[in-house]
């Protein structure tokens, strides 16, 4: 049985989230040699990581479409429902990241820590949203949610 295009897309997003954050940390740490972390340039590593993730996502989706996708981009009611379920699960981490950023700003923390709290929230949200989607496709949605 072939998996739905949306499930394959969720696998791509999960892999990119799992790979993307360590890549960001490597870029950050290699650029911060000798300097204290809060003084490190976090903006470019973030921008490169996001740009690289978007580019990798476009390429991987295109490859999957060419080589495995027999159902095209057809989305039906189940895909939309699972999408909403996964968005709801992922939303929690976006809020957690934003709240962490807000609290850090109130505590007059360095911009480095504020930006990184929000950035981590985005990656966790992408990872958890993908996991929620894959579980829903494989095992089904809970009857009440």
């Amino acid at each position: 049985m072939s998996s739905p295009p949306e499930e394959r897309s969720a696998w791509i997003m999960l892999v990119l989230a799992i790979v993307g954050y360590p890549v960001y940390l490597i870029l950050l740490l290699t650029g911060a040699t000798g300097a204290a972390l809060p003084e490190a340039d976090f903006a470019w590593p973030m921008i490169w990581t996001v740009a690289g993730s978007v580019a990798a996502s476009v390429v991987l989706h295109a490859l999957f479409r060419v080589y495995t996708d027999r159902d095209g981009n057809t989305r039906d009611e189940r895909d939309r429902l699972i999408g909403r379920w996964a968005d709801r699960a992922a939303y929690a981490f976006v809020v957690a990241g934003a709240l962490a950023g807000l609290v850090l700003a109130m505590l007059r923390a360095e911009p480095f820590w504020i930006a990184n709290a929000i950035f981590l929230g985005f990656f966790l949200s992408a990872a958890l949203g993908s996991v929620a989607k894959i579980v829903a496709y494989r095992r089904g949605l809970p009857s009440r949610w």
Partner: protein, 71 residues
Amino acid sequence: MVKPTRVTNAIRRLRFDAGEMTQAELAERIGVTRQTLIAIEQGRYSPSLETAFRIARVFGVPLEQVFQYPG
């Protein structure tokens, strides 16, 4: 893991009775993907009321003969 649904269905038997209609054909006639039809048949997904009625209409039977809910 919470069981996705308590609703059971007789789609597999109805397909068999309808000249071994394929999952792909039924999916196309009710407007869902084959993966979604498989999920419905296996009880991993409860379809919308509209889709449920479309399935019953394809087989020409009342809804209760397609889906059952244990009392």
